[in-house]
């Protein structure tokens, strides 16, 4: 008997049964190169052009971007410029949102490089041109939760995701901040990029700080990353707290914020362990300051704050008033640094944040949300996307998601902005259905949705000034006169999706 031979035959037989090869030592490569040196030559590190070529991107495919750098973003323009230079045409751009800074896309649309767009919002010149009919295919607008769902279900398929990150190691472990001394940028949470990283066919990380392996704790895992591109800058962090996100000094905003805080405190939901989110917009952000005082006075603590995390929220957390922060997007540098340093400040993906079909999404656990609005109508429908001049000038953001899932949604808006009424007969564009809107706070009084009589009773008992929403509309008209109708055309330039994937409204071109 030859024991070794026998065993070899048995290995061969078992391998055959399993339909496998027998181990061959020749296939094992042993590399004694010092690892620090070896890692620098990671096959994932390429130039942007190489990444695009190797990704297999073709005309007609879908590329995606996040907007964590908001007005300071440099990735969208850099990548689309490169794609144009390389001769790509007919691409679909799936951004989590677009800002004023993305004005150069106008030329790329005119030249046929980009022929369709999906986003949460549009601002500036790009929004202006699209509102006037720049594109043949309507822009598809989704909420943040809705975008997460659409990506997860495959309704929005991403071929190549281009993700700006403030640090990344040669394997692709990436973060919205950097712990290295060479840190150039910081955006904090990468929440809106996480579904892209998970579901896109190919993922390219662009980073302005290529750090040593392992870049942990990381928000995007190397497992999901195909290419790493080192660039001069992914974004200007100082421009994150710009645009919609600002710290208000406007006395009317402060009055609105104080009133909103009173509504919260007397709503019946202001209890030990409650949870809260504030949207962008001066008044809703400022309300946090006033809620803080009530929390201290009444010794009430929040279990978590959701958002859209700001320096205000971080302060309350550090003071022990809010136990945890769940952060899909860091609204300023303080928040971005907090998510880097504080394990109780959790990064959440768009799906974990607000998707309707994700039972564990944080909005499902949300008590109170304060939101802003461009317009509210007498049925409590809200528009946050299209200005009263018919031009797109905003974003759905998490408006639909948080209003629908929260126990109490509060819209804070002035009655008039200049001569433009904010309480109207019918919203220009429907973004958040009135059924999910509970309270509207204006400087002329508070209107409570008739669906929520219990809230109206509590606020009345607290001595707050409750008014009928129709009265607010009439009050506005009395001051401004009757506006002439807007000169809308017949071309559909935008389609507004509800978070459940149904079509909510269309935006027509404006001939102004």
């Amino acid at each position: 008997m030859n024991a070794t031979k026998d065993r070899e035959n048995m290995i061969l037989a078992e391998a055959k049964k399993m339909n496998k090869e027998v181990f061959n030592e020749k296939n094992l490569i042993k590399d004694g190169t010092e690892k620090q040196e070896a890692l620098k030559k990671s096959p994932k590190i390429v130039t942007l052009e190489e990444a695009i070529k190797k990704s297999g991107l073709k005309d007609g495919m879908t590329i995606s971007f996040h907007h964590h750098f908001r007005g300071g973003d440099k990735v969208v323009n850099m990548v689309v410029d490169k794609l144009a230079e390389m001769g790509f045409k007919n691409l679909s751009l799936a951004a989590s949102s677009l800002q004023d800074v993305h004005e150069p896309l106008i030329e790329h649309i005119k030249n046929g490089v980009i022929t369709s767009i999906s986003t949460s919002g549009l601002r500036g010149k790009l929004a202006d041109e699209i509102s006037r009919g720049l594109m043949d295919t309507p822009v598809v607008f989704r909420s943040h939760g809705g975008r997460g769902s659409a990506i997860a279900t495959g309704e929005l398929h991403i071929d190549v995701a281009f993700i700006g990150a403030s640090s990344c190691d040669p394997m692709g472990n990436a973060c919205g901040f950097s712990r290295s001394e060479n840190a150039k940028s910081i955006c904090g949470s990468l929440g809106y990029a996480l579904p892209d990283a998970q579901y896109a066919d190919k993922v390219v990380i662009l980073t302005d700080d290529l750090v040593a392996y392992p870049n942990t704790p990381n928000s995007i895992s190397e497992r999901n990353v195909d290419f790493v591109v080192e660039v001069e800058s992914v974004g200007d962090s100082s421009k994150i707290a710009s645009g919609a996100i600002r710290d208000t000094k406007n006395p009317r905003d402060i009055l609105l914020a104080q009133t909103a805080a009173k509504v919260i405190v007397n709503s019946g939901y202001f209890k030990e362990g409650f949870s809260i989110q504030t949207g962008s917009g001066g008044a809703s952000l400022a309300a946090v300051k006033y809620i803080r005082q009530s929390m201290i006075d009444q010794n009430i603590h929040a279990s978590f704050a959701l958002g859209g995390i700001t320096a205000h929220m971080v302060k309350l957390h550090e003071e022990g008033l809010i136990d945890r922060l769940i952060d899909v997007q860091s609204f300023d540098r303080v928040a971005a640094e907090s998510i880097m340093n504080d394990p109780k400040h959790k990064e959440a993906s768009a799906n974990e944040y607000a998707s309707a079909d994700e039972p564990g999404s944080a909005t499902h656990a949300l008590d109170i949300v304060i939101l802003s609005a461009l317009e509210v109508d007498t049925d409590f429908n809200v528009n946050v996307l299209v200005g009263s001049d018919g031009i797109i000038r905003g974003a759905i953001g998490g408006h639909q998601d948080t209003a629908a899932d929260s126990a109490l949604s509060i819209i804070v808006c002035p009655l008039l902005r200049g001569r433009i009424p904010c309480v109207v007969d019918k919203v220009t564009t429907l973004i958040t259905p009135g059924k999910s809107v509970d309270v509207v706070v204006t400087e002329y009084g508070i209107a409570v949705n008739p669906n929520r009589p219990e809230i109206a009773e509590r606020l009345k008992a607290a001595g707050l000034n409750l008014v009928d929403i129709n009265w607010l509309k009439e009050r506005a008209l009395k001051v401004i006169g009757t506006p002439a109708p807007l000169p809308f055309g017949d071309k559909v330039v935008g389609v507004v999706m509800n978070r459940d994937g149904s079509v909510l409204d269309v935006i027509k071109n404006i001939n102004a």
Binding site: S388, D389, G390, L416, R417, G418, R419, I420, V479, I480, G481, P483, A484, L486, P487, A512
Partner: protein, 93 residues
């Protein structure tokens, strides 16, 4: 009535800047640039014209740069510009 070059108002949101110049055409020419022109352009021009007529100004070139001012603001700014242009005090007269 002699009209000199004058202006009133600012370019702040919610305000209107009114610039008045003499005209040789013997009528009011109102040139309006407004952030709310489509909804309120005609109404704004009417308030400017009515206010000037009340002040007996029937010939002038008026340039109005509007940032969403309400009628009361427009009336106040036009009156102020007219007083400065004519030197005729309408408040203490």
């Amino acid at each position: 009535m002699t009209i000199n070059k004058a202006f009133a108002g600012t370019l702040e949101s919610g305000d209107i800047m009114i610039q008045i110049e003499p005209s040789e055409e013997g009528k009011l020419n109102i040139e309006l640039d407004s952030t709310v022109a489509y909804q309120f352009g005609e109404q704004i021009k009417k308030v400017i014209a009515d206010t000037l007529k009340e002040l007996e100004i029937t010939s002038a070139n008026v340039k109005a740069t509007d940032k969403g001012a309400l009628d009361c603001t427009i009336k106040a700014r036009v009156t102020c510009a007219a007083v400065r242009a004519t030197g005729k005090d309408v408040w203490n007269a």
